[in-house]
Symmetry: none
Subunit: 357 residues, 2 copies
DNA sequence: ATGTCACATGAATCCACCT
DNA sequence: TAGGTGGATTCATGTGACA
């Protein structure tokens, strides 16, 4: 399916603009919604300076109700334009993240993780009345419970000292050269660091995917998407921000497609059956396989099954059987002998796979 | 005002029991309510052993609506029994924290901070499908917008190497000797570490204050309160938990009020992965890395892995691969070129680390 | 006593594909 | 769509056996 408006910034209110997009046309939505909605949106009442407690609480309730209505409206549209296996990221602070998270769940999204962006250089709390607000929260959710969102597990692990990536990410704020300036002042009050979007997009999209950002601002999502070989659709109602984003993205040089591809996952490699090892002559019928400690021995049969005195069947079933386990990965459990040493039969599968290229 | 039931554990449903308490009688509420986990079938580790998930009856709810109704009911009572300047702490994970936070706001509490408990030793993700769930979230809120909750800013700062205490707390899980056992098995599936409560109570209560915990469990709140010279009121409906808590608290020796009990360790040095060099723009996708003698060349990929014609993966795996070695420290093996000279990528990691201080 | 290694375990919404 | 099967998948820490 082709996505309209690919790699461009649409002007207008994101709810209205999303309504003009077809169903199921984007792979990912990344959203950094405002939480300090001012009068312009017509969503909150004015902040009365001298009110009694009752009115104060009522006012607070009204504001929350209006914010919730706004949140549900844009999230519903975002969900509609997501593909079945699409996913959503939203980011917020304690002012709005609980309302966002609640709406995400109520609309049928299925949360995969919440992630905390721990800031290396947060703004201190000057008045000494609270803890320094040193983090923001992101929510990663599939379109629904059945969705299987993209997750480049092996890339993340390899990039993280071969240890799986955790839900806490320590990253600096957007400062210095990266921070867009207009006349010496910051162009946008809450510009997100590209490193944050880099991690989001390289973790949960593939090259060529389309990422929608309904609160595009100065276009960090678009800039990183372009650099990583992903497509973006931005929505922004403030022309100043949109113009700044366009200029910024125009200057981005995309990575070579070869460099943008995530590490291939074993789950997506071509399937090689155990029988192919015998067919190809890598293992002879009648040869013996051993568990790592040589405690269990099985005989290879010509039809691609294993045989012990007690168990017959696939390498997995027999491996589970001899261990009295519920399941077993026969490729790593069973070993063949060569020059007196044992090696997993998985290494023979690799030989077959190499021959398939 | 005297508080009834001080330093004791009340048996029963927390909503009913709280209704029997007078208005405005406690200084702090700490609550660790059921998380409504909604786990699927069984989960096994890669070594085939079973994961002991939380499948207790008390964590089961019909729907989000049922959970929300329960949440609002106990929070409303908690708010009623709080003094005007009293405060609330709740803890949860992404399964329930957004619903908790919403209810907290809707009922008129005023959030001071959200705090993330970053776990040093979380359970990994065993199937490689998500980020390791390595944190939980706490919300600290005043009874209402006008409340001025206790906050021991200066003692926190002094105990934190004279740096302002932040909203991210790095602490280990409750394991080892601290974990209560019954017949060799854990007494409670979700016992919280005392270090966490220590930080909560020393930060936001004064000696002599009364702390109510409506989900007392095995009484971590009571144990820490007693040690720190605070009073507690616990509510627990499971007699086994309540009994265990009573025995535990009886053995606690209160600290001498003069003693500044040591606060748990400061935050650990976060891991810096090779991926962060690319995320931060220190290395561009497609740039080349060399071994010291330029015999081997690898290309940097956007996902934080390396690629030669033969090997793909982490800097360490690829370094080992090209040398045909069992292992390799990629940080010192791989070099980048600058002004015609080679420098180890470890020097770029130092740049990242400097930015994190 | 000291070091090594095997083993256990923690609030977990934890698979993909084919028939 | 429900069920069956192939086969992919873990980090930090504490305890205890054993050399």
């Amino acid at each position: 399916m082709t996505t309209p408006y690919k790699d461009s910034i649409l002007r207008g209110d994101c709810i209205e603009v999303m309504k003009s997009l077809p169903d199921a046309c984007v792979d990912l939505v990344f959203a950094d919604p405002p939480y300090n909605l001012q009068l312009g949106g017509g969503l909150t009442r004015p902040d009365q300076s001298d009110v009694d407690g009752v009115t104060d609480e009522w006012d607070q309730f009204e504001s929350f109700a209006a914010y919730d209505a706004f949140t549900k409206a844009w999230l519903a549209e975002a969900r509609r334009v997501l593909k079945p296996n699409g996913a959503l990221w939203v980011i917020g602070s304690y002012h709005n993240i609980f309302r966002l998270g609640c709406a995400v769940q109520d609309l049928g999204f299925w949360i995969q993780n919440d992630v905390v962006w721990v800031k290396t250089n947060p703004m201190p709390n000057f008045r000494g009345t609270r803890f320094a607000n040193a983090h923001e929260t992101l929510i990663w959710a599939g379109r629904d419970k059945k969705s299987r969102p993209t997750f480049n597990y092996h890339s993340l692990k390899a990039a993280n000292e071969d240890v799986q990536m955790r839900s806490d990410w320590t990253l600096p704020l957007c400062t210095g050269q990266e921070r867009l300036k207009t006349g010496g002042k910051k162009t946008h009050p809450t510009q997100k660091p590209e490193a944050l979007l880099h991690r989001v997009l390289s973790a949960t999209t593939n090259p060529g995917d389309v990422v929608l950002d309904p609160f595009f601002g100065t276009g960090t999502t678009g800039a990183v998407a372009k650099r990583l070989g992903r497509h973006f659709v931005g929505i922004e109602r403030d022309e100043t921000y949109a113009k700044a984003a366009e200029a910024r993205i125009a200057s981005i040089v995309p990575a070579d497609p070869e460099d943008a591809a995530p590490l291939p996952s074993p789950r997506r490699q071509p399937r090689v059956g155990f029988g192919q090892l015998i067919e190809s002559g890598l293992l002879a019928p009648g040869s013996k396989l051993y568990c790592p400690k040589r405690k269990h021995i099985a005989r290879v049969k010509a039809d691609g099954t294993l045989d012990t005195s007690l168990h017959q069947g696939s390498i997995h079933k027999v491996g589970a059987g001899v261990q009295n386990a519920a399941s077993c990965n026969g490729w790593t459990f069973w070993h063949y002998e060569e020059a007196g040493k044992l090696a997993p039969i998985d290494s023979l599968r690799s030989v077959i796979r190499r021959g398939m290229n």
